[in-house]
């Protein structure tokens, strides 16, 4: 099939706790994007519960897809392909989306495209700014991932650095739960930090000048040790000091990565990219270095299906459809051979 600016892709996303569907035309024109979050459902448990997530996806998926089609104001016969996240994520959650997307593709007799969720995050920025110039450095930070990727062209990536233990968002989640600040932990730390002093406690900045990999497990331990030793410390000061430590490392390494590869700019992606201090400090660092800072809206940084449809459009054009017997891959890496030509 010809894949061009008239190709309309339905994207489906169910890898974690958002059920999402979107219609994207020509790889970058978002016709509709619907996200149904399970955050309220998981808040009482203080985290995503896999079986709860799968059941919720099962209930939400049909209405979410229907709403994306109705809001897009198109007839389903106009859809040219169905793209869906096949990994990484929770296996039970992934399978709900993959099965539904394959069924839709089969029923409509259009191609099915399996998409890597991490690769899709790299595309989120292109949906809001179609003039981005390669090479770019993408800082992808969420509850499950922390990585720096050089994007040399569409489909051409190089992993520059990644966490060797915990993700940055995981450090926020776990400390927020320990301090009883609420779920999800990222926004809770962001909010609490407003009232705290970021210089109150000097937490360690691990591996600051040691390559482009990250390590946040020791920082988490250091925060917990501190609070156990000083139980009367103000939670807001702990939150603000933790946030500053994490963001110092993220910004420092993103900036060095951009310098090393001669990037035209730094792109943020993933749920932690909604953090206000991270956005402000990346913007300031890029301005100082004379490169672009591409900060997608909160809606595009967090899980959504528009980025899945966009990545699906690029994959369809470069590689073609995926076989219908392709499975779901819970620990799929960004540079997965199964999806590379």
């Amino acid at each position: 099939m010809t894949v061009d600016e008239h190709t309309l892709v339905l994207g489906v996303e169910t890898s974690c706790d958002e059920t999402a569907a979107a219609l994207v035309l020509g790889g970058d024109d978002v016709i509709s994007s619907v996200v149904s979050s399970q955050i309220d459902l998981h808040a009482e448990f203080g985290g995503v519960v896999p079986e709860v997530a799968s059941r919720a996806h099962l209930e939400s998926l049909n209405p979410v897809v229907a709403r994306a089609i109705v809001e897009g104001g198109i007839d389903p016969s106009r859809i040219d392909a169905v793209a869906c996240t096949i990994g990484p994520g929770l296996i039970g959650a992934l399978l709900v989306g993959v099965s539904a997307a394959k069924a839709l593709a089969l029923a409509w007799d259009v191609p099915f495209v399996g998409v890597n969720h991490l690769e899709a995050h790299l595309y989120a920025a292109f949906l809001e700014d179609t003039n981005l110039q390669f090479p770019l450095v993408v800082l992808l930070v969420s509850g499950g991932h922390t990585m720096l990727v050089e994007m040399r062209d569409h489909g051409d990536y190089r992993l520059l650095g990644r966490t060797i233990d915990d993700a940055a968002g995981e450090a926020f989640d776990k400390v927020a739960r320990f301090l009883d600040l609420g779920y999800p932990g990222g926004p809770a730390i962001d909010r609490a930090s407003d009232a705290g002093d970021p210089d109150a406690i000097r937490f360690p900045r691990a591996m600051m000048d040691d390559g482009l990999d990250f390590s946040f497990s020791g920082l988490k331990t250091s925060v917990l040790n501190y609070v156990r030793r000083e139980p009367d410390v103000a939670s807001v000061d702990v939150a603000a000091s933790l946030q500053q430590a994490v963001i110092d490392v993220l910004v420092h390494k993103a900036r060095r990565a951009a310098h090393e590869v001669g990037a035209t700019g730094i792109v943020l992606g993933g749920g932690v990219a909604a953090n206000r201090l991270l956005r402000a400090e990346i913007a300031a660092a890029c301005a100082a270095d004379g490169i672009g800072a591409f900060l997608p809206s909160r809606e595009m940084c967090t899980d959504n299906a528009a980025m899945i449809a966009a990545a699906g459009w690029h994959r369809l054009r470069a590689v073609g459809p995926s076989p219908l017997d392709i499975g779901a891959f819970p620990t799929m890496p960004l540079l997965d051979q199964a999806l590379i030509r």
């Binding site: 448990f45 709860v52 991932h145 990644r162 915990d166 988490k220 156990r228």
Partner: protein, 165 residues
């Protein structure tokens, strides 16, 4: 047995000593609060089995698997499940059945579903608690539950003798 480690590298060594005695079908449950060194233990355990890549936290993915020679190390994390009674859905014991060694963080919740296992409980060492610097000392309590580790307990005690309290 009860052990004392003075630093993360000590804890890594204890983990390595256990890993060197591990064999296919083994289950090791790690218990203890947040920040007591479960990640450090897991890294030491994996390195001794021959895992070359970084062992990242399985909190999000629930289980990460690593091929090390003829063995597969399954590194699981029940942090998000411990309060929900969904542990049985993961079918942990089945993971270890085929040439696998299963290491479970936040393993408390799995103790009832796996019969034969080694339990490793980590805790901050109170003796160091009033030190001004970072508290790096840990107590590690190891118990063999069921026959399979009981047979190796003597060799394990010997290998860990220098950390004994």
């Amino acid at each position: 047995m009860e052990l004392h480690t003075a630093s993360p590298s000590d804890t890594r060594e204890v983990a390595a000593a256990i890993a060197r005695l591990a064999r296919s079908g083994d289950i090791v449950l790690l218990t203890g609060d947040m920040g007591v060194g479960k990640t450090v233990f897991a890294q030491g355990f994996g390195a001794a089995l021959g895992v070359a890549e970084p062992m990242t936290s399985p909190t999000f993915t629930l289980v990460n698997s690593y091929q090390c020679g003829s063995l597969t190390l399954h590194h699981a994390d029940l942090y998000r499940l411990e309060r929900t009674g969904e542990v049985a859905d993961l079918a942990l014991a089945e993971l270890a059945e085929f040439s696998g060694v299963l290491l479970v963080e936040w393993g408390e919740a799995a103790a009832a579903t796996v019969r034969d296992h080694l339990e490793v409980h980590l805790d901050v060492d109170d003796a160091d608690a009033d030190a001004l610097d970072e508290v790096t000392g840990r107590t590690i309590e190891i118990s063999a539950i069921g026959p399979s580790w009981a047979q190796r307990y003597g060799r394990l005690t010997e290998a860990l003798a220098r950390f004994a309290c």
